[in-house]
């Protein structure tokens, strides 16, 4: 469920980059204040552990297909929220660069979706709230399953929201949601039990790894983070409102109709007529399949068949030139290197 560059708009990608950068800076500052040097090598190898654990394949019961773990919640339980966020961010950075998961613009959104929710929402509010300071196997299991499910549901919802706000996909918000949430519920339950199993297993052989108390003050962290969430939410809705779909969608939720009923207001009418004249896509939430070509031409700038044909022709020529350029350049660089 990695978000991808190709489905993002620069505004949405940028907002999540900013949110992720701010959270990283916050987590780094907190870690520096803790002055726990021993944590640094531990964080490094645990990041590598996530990759290594993914190499161990297992069969998902009932399906026969093989799965692997994400590990975000496990890291939060072992390291606490700040260190876990940094580790998850580094794992996703390596994945974006080496495994081409998502891309660079989407990296901010991916770190947010898979790092923020387990570290700063699911861990303090669900896992810690249930387990408190006296973990028992039952409590750990319940807490792990609930927190992993919650983190993954939030992450999946985030992916749908980011896709919708970007407006690149035509998928209706509701349908996409209905597709993503159940899949991630199943994944979440499976990963929750695995996380619980690993935590309980380690506790049975080396309890001190799990039972050390974290020194982070949650009250402060929670206050800081809720302020940040409000700011991020505000920014997001501002960007969203520049996009017709996002706004109409929220209006749809509030009023049950895609657009507010227009009262007879001369200023509104005037503005609307101006908007209708200048808008390239007057209201593209209503594409009509049986529209004639002439009408459809409005929906696409310069889309009379003549120019579209030149678009295709020109595009092919550009691609050919680019390919020829590449082959020439490679020959040139080979001859240069062999000297």
């Amino acid at each position: 469920m990695h978000m991808a560059d190709a489905l993002l708009s620069p505004a949405v990608g940028g907002v999540f980059w900013a949110a992720t950068a701010a959270t990283t800076a916050y987590a780094a500052k907190k870690l520096r204040q803790e002055e726990n040097e021993k944590l640094i090598p531990l964080m490094g190898v645990l990041g590598a552990f996530v990759f290594a654990a993914q190499m161990i394949n297992f069969t998902i019961p009932g399906t026969g297909s093989s799965g692997h773990i994400g590990g975000g919640m496990l890291l939060a339980i072992l390291l606490g929220p700040n260190a876990a966020f940094i580790v998850i961010a580094s794992v996703l950075t390596v994945q974006a660069l080496f495994f081409a998961d998502g891309g660079l613009l989407a990296l901010g959104a991916n770190i947010w979706n898979l790092g923020f929710y387990p570290s700063y929402i699911a861990y303090p509010f669900i896992y810690k709230a249930i387990v408190k300071d006296n973990p028992t196997p039952k409590k750990i299991t319940l807490a792990s399953v609930l927190s992993v499910v919650a983190a993954l549901q939030l992450g999946a919802f985030s992916v749908v929201l980011q896709t919708k706000l970007s407006g690149i996909s035509e998928l209706p918000f509701k349908n996409f949601l209905m597709l993503m949430q159940p899949i991630h519920l199943a994944i979440g339950i499976a990963e929750g039990f695995i996380t619980a199993g690993v935590v309980n297993y380690i506790r049975s052989i080396q309890p001190e790894i799990i039972e050390k108390k974290t020194t982070v003050s949650y009250k402060k962290a929670v206050i800081a983070l809720s302020i940040m969430a409000v700011i991020t939410g505000g920014l997001l809705s501002w960007f969203a409102s520049t996009h017709p779909d996002g706004l109409e969608w929220s209006i749809m939720n509030v009023y049950g109709e895609p657009e507010l009923e227009q009262k007879d207001n001369p200023i509104v009418n005037k503005l609307q007529s101006i908007q209708e004249k200048t808008a390239i896509l007057p209201d593209y939430s209503l594409p009509e399949p049986e529209a004639t070509t002439e009408e459809a031409a409005e929906g696409w700038p310069n889309a009379d068949p003549g120019t579209s044909l030149s678009g295709i022709l020109g595009g092919l020529i550009v691609l050919l030139v680019v390919a020829a350029f590449g082959m020439g350049l490679r020959r040139f660089s080979r001859s240069g290197n062999s000297q």
Partner: protein, 264 residues
């Protein structure tokens, strides 16, 4: 085996990054900034724009050619990661059936155009990210990040992570081999065995962290890891940056494909 294969790719990309071409020698900061500008300009194209995007292929082609990166490898990677994007994009042609033009009796709809637009954006952005790492060593990227004022904890984390991926993955693969040689058919592949294996691997990892910490202390570790600076920004780099960013802006503003097509 698919999983061992993805691990192999990690090492392969790393080995590509030690070639010595013009691109490889450039300062990592410049390459990172050019790549990010490229990605943002490509993504900033509206949903139903296709022909204007094609000029942007010049950038990955330039790097693949000059840095001698095998094209087949990049294409294979693209196919492996494409499912999620394909799944989301494939709905566009079915949800948006506004016809744009007819070509030899086939009606082309805006849905198909936005679908192709997503695919082209996907190819461009993902290959840009892969080419960045294939032409810049991971250590180089870390150096660049720390000089661009990314928090030190994060940069050190990346370096340690990358250093130990190879060690721990080999350890995990040894455990998998041991398990497979002791189990028949599909036995031993259950979740319970997995939990035990992952648990043991985790305990070993934590113990390893203790040993690493002692080793670091005995070598004078005091909370920071000093980094070697091997690159600097020269006039060559400045020109590289200006030319690419200029081209990206030009391609974004003027649809080269359409202009060339209209000549005929």
């Amino acid at each position: 085996m698919e999983i061992a294969n993805s691990f192999f790719n990690l090492g392969y990309l790393d080995s590509l990054s030690y070639k010595k071409s013009f691109i490889h020698r450039l300062d990592p900061r410049i390459k990172t900034i050019v790549t990010l500008t490229f990605v943002v300009t490509v993504v900033s194209f509206p949903q139903k724009e296709l022909s204007g995007l094609l000029s942007f292929f010049i950038y990955p082609v330039f790097i693949i050619a000059l840095a001698e990166i095998p094209l087949g490898f990049i294409l294979k990677k693209l196919v492996i990661v494409s499912p999620f994007v394909l799944m989301v994009a494939i709905f566009n042609p079915f949800l948006d059936k506004t016809p744009v033009m007819e070509l030899y009796g086939i009606t082309i709809t805006t849905g198909w155009i936005s679908f192709l637009s997503i695919i082209v954006k996907f190819i461009l952005t993902i290959s840009a990210a892969l080419l960045l790492i294939a032409t810049t060593s991971f250590v180089g990227i870390c150096e660049g990040l720390s000089r661009m004022r990314v928090p030190e904890v994060f940069v050190v984390q990346l370096m340690l992570l990358y250093r130990y991926i190879f060690v721990l993955v080999e350890e995990a693969l040894r455990m998998v081999r041991a398990r497979d040689s002791r189990s028949f058919g599909k036995k031993g592949r259950g979740i319970k065995t997995f939990i035990n294996l992952a648990g043991i691997l985790l305990v070993r990892t934590i113990h390893r962290a203790d040993r690493i910490y002692s080793a670091m202390l005995s070598r004078g570790y005091s909370g920071t890891i000093p980094q070697k600076r091997t690159h600097r920004i020269r006039t060559k780099e400045v020109f590289y940056l200006i030319i690419w960013v200029g081209l990206f802006i030009l391609f974004r503003k003027y649809n080269l494909s359409l202009a060339i097509g209209q000549l005929f």
